[in-house]
């Protein structure tokens, strides 16, 4: 209730400042429309002088435009279109047209020195109302779609910029120099002592790097592939951490082909290692488990990343915040409120990150 009231009040806030150059541009366009309308009228009524329809057309058109275009600043705009949201968006043009028509007629009559409201002008009146309505709708639609177009463009550019930035940050966290150089240092040792294992590791690293670099390009892949990528990363970390790290991946056969966003789980597993296991002298164990549970709107896919590490730090370091917020953002953009990420500290210690979103059957 109070929210609705607040919204109604909010509708009266002048949300956007007036851009006078834009208004001048709109005025000139409106006047151009008026000239065209007057010309069409003249074409149909060659015996009439051109200046009378022109004066009427200019007076009515300009007044309609001024009422609507300035009136819309009294209301809160819809962010997608810039047009007033809700009821005002319909009432404003209607009022603008009626008042503009009546006022414009008076203005034009005073300008021409006679009135079209003279008796017997019924047909004339019908024509002028018809023209006003048609012309108004055409002009309103023209402006509405133009404004919507520029706003959508601006929002698309913004979204593109954000996506590019997110992509870059993802790359920066995934290709963290510490991880890269340490892995290479391990490989350098293995090449001398265990060439076969070194080859295996290099293959894993290639897969990991390729997935990281292409994660942004493809949006979905089967859950089995996602688990395979996690295995690459975990194997690389197991090589580095030795006996301090153990892991299990549990993926039921029925869920292998289910589509999931690429590398969605990667940041969670990385957090489990970096903030859970690495600070602990004894290390620990990571288990990733996929399953399903019934939801309000059909079955849900549930994936848990559990570690027996140090638990959540009181103030998460920036990297961790980015990891979690990145997972949340991706879930929200794909599934809205149906996709959730829940991070808990179980009583037994460690951390458990749980991702839930609607289960879509395999294609």
């Amino acid at each position: 209730m109070s929210a609705a009231l607040h919204d109604r009040d909010g509708a009266w806030r002048r949300a956007t400042p007036i851009d006078w150059l834009d208004k001048l541009r709109n005025l000139l366009r409106t006047m151009a429309f008026c000239l065209v309308i007057a010309a069409i009228q003249c074409a149909f009524q060659p015996d009439w002088p051109y200046d009378i329809p022109l004066r009427y057309s200019l007076a009515i058109g300009t007044l309609c435009w001024a009422l609507i275009d300035f009136g819309r600043h009294l209301f809160r705009p819809n962010p997608d279109t810039g047009w007033p949201a809700g009821i005002p968006g319909l009432v404003l043009p209607a009022l603008g047209i009626i008042l503009g028509y009546l006022g414009g007629n008076l203005l034009a009559a005073w300008w021409c020195g006679f009135s079209s409201w003279a008796p017997g002008g019924g047909a004339q009146l019908r024509i002028s109302i018809g023209i006003t309505l048609l012309a108004s709708f055409a002009v309103i639609y023209f402006f509405y779609s133009g404004s919507k177009h520029t706003r959508l463009h601006a929002r698309m550019d913004e979204a593109r910029g954000q996506a590019a930035e997110a992509q870059l940050r993802l790359l920066q966290t995934q290709l963290e120099p510490h991880m890269l150089f340490n892995t290479l240092a391990n490989l350098r040792m293995l090449i001398g002592t265990d060439p076969a294992r070194a080859q295996q590791m290099i293959d894993r690293m290639i897969d990991y790097l390729r997935a990281t670099l292409s994660a942004s390009r493809s949006t979905e892949h089967p859950l089995a592939t996602e688990f395979e990528r996690l295995r690459d990363y975990l194997e690389l970390m197991a090589m580095r951490m030795g006996p301090r790290m153990a892991y299990t991946l549990t993926l039921p056969e029925a869920l292998r082909a289910v589509p999931v966003p690429t590398l969605l789980l990667q940041p969670l597993v990385e957090n489990a290692i970096r903030h859970g296991l690495e600070p602990q002298v004894a290390g620990g164990r990571i288990s990733v488990r996929a399953g399903t549970r019934p939801g309000a709107h059909g079955p849900l896919l549930v994936i848990e990343v559990h570690d027996t590490g140090a638990g959540l730090p009181p103030a998460p370091p920036p990297g961790q915040r980015f990891g979690l917020s990145q997972v949340r953002e991706r879930l929200a953009s794909l599934h809205g409120s149906a996709g959730t990420l829940d991070v808990q500290t179980p009583s037994a210690g460690g951390t458990c990150a749980c991702v839930t979103f609607p289960l879509r059957p395999a294609p």
Binding site: H178, N182, N186, R240, E278, P279, P317
Partner: protein, 276 residues
């Protein structure tokens, strides 16, 4: 005079890398004896104190305690004088990649090694160490210089994860909970802070409180001119210091007005109390 074979300790949490460093060192310096290899910062300090080697190779990112913190702790606990005193070991940091750390090391005489370790680069380090050990009999790597370098490193941004050189908002009141009450302790009344296990003790002339905020975070929120760090775990109000005394072992202790305790000053901060 024939010197015994120099002994080294390696602290590196990744087993393969520890083995690799050991291997490369045995090639570059066949006479060197590796007396221990440990995988975390806490063991590094323990083992170094127990074995007292001449050389230390510390990884920076380790579980439990970073290589830098381990070095600081070791410097504080190293027996400096007396019959059992030995010179402080020559310290080499090993790091995978850390721009700031590298920058900090560039200006220092303590060497650093970048992983993956290249034999040619290691050879240079070995030469440096051999020279340092040969120049002095008994080889004294200057502890004072080491302390200055460590201080410099600790202050360098980005070297120690979570530490920031920028000071946050100045703290004026400290909420300290006891039972179901929260006492608001004015910072102006605090004489010193002391880290104890998971807590930090906040001491005024009359009372003592416990808070959970780590000392490192407190330091960032306090005026450095008002509160001086005199030890890894102690922060004192500078204008409450009355006397500084040196005991027979060469350690400094200071006393504060309004408190009976004698607080130890670590080597790292002893330079604050050099008489003018």
């Amino acid at each position: 005079m024939n010197q015994p074979a120099p002994r080294a300790l390696i602290a590196e949490d990744e087993p393969l890398l520890a083995a690799a460093l050991q291997q490369e060192l045995s090639r570059a310096w066949p006479g060197l004896q590796i007396v221990a290899t440990v995988g975390d910062g806490l063991s590094a300090v323990r083992q170094a104190l127990a074995l007292q080697p001449e050389l230390l190779f510390f990884d920076i990112r380790m579980p439990g305690q970073s290589g830098l913190d381990a070095a600081v702790e070791l410097a504080e606990d190293w027996p400096g004088t007396g019959p059992s005193a030995r010179p402080f070991p020559a310290l080499v940091f090993v790091t995978a990649y850390d721009q700031y750390a590298v920058q900090a090391f560039e200006a220092q005489a303590i060497d650093y090694l970048l992983k993956p370790i290249q034999p040619a680069r290691l050879q240079k380090t070995v030469q440096k160490l051999q020279q340092a050990l040969a120049n002095h009999a008994p080889y004294a790597i200057d502890l004072e210089a080491t302390m200055a370098q460590l201080r410099h490193l600790l202050a360098a941004p980005g070297v120690v994860p979570g530490s920031s050189a920028s000071s946050g908002a100045a703290l004026t009141l400290i909420p300290a909970s006891s039972g179901n009450r929260v006492h608001m302790v004015p910072v102006a009344e605090v004489l010193y802070f002391e880290a104890a296990d998971k807590y930090v003790r906040v001491l005024t002339a009359a009372r003592e409180f416990l808070i959970r905020t780590p000392l490192k975070e407190l330091i960032a929120q306090l005026d450095q001119r008002v509160f001086w760090q005199i030890h890894r775990s102690t922060l004192v109000r500078a204008d409450a210091i009355t006397t500084v005394t040196r005991d027979e072992a060469g350690k400094l202790h200071l006393e504060l007005t309004g408190r009976p305790e004698k607080l130890p000053v670590s080597r790292l901060y002893a330079h604050l109390f050099k008489a003018m």
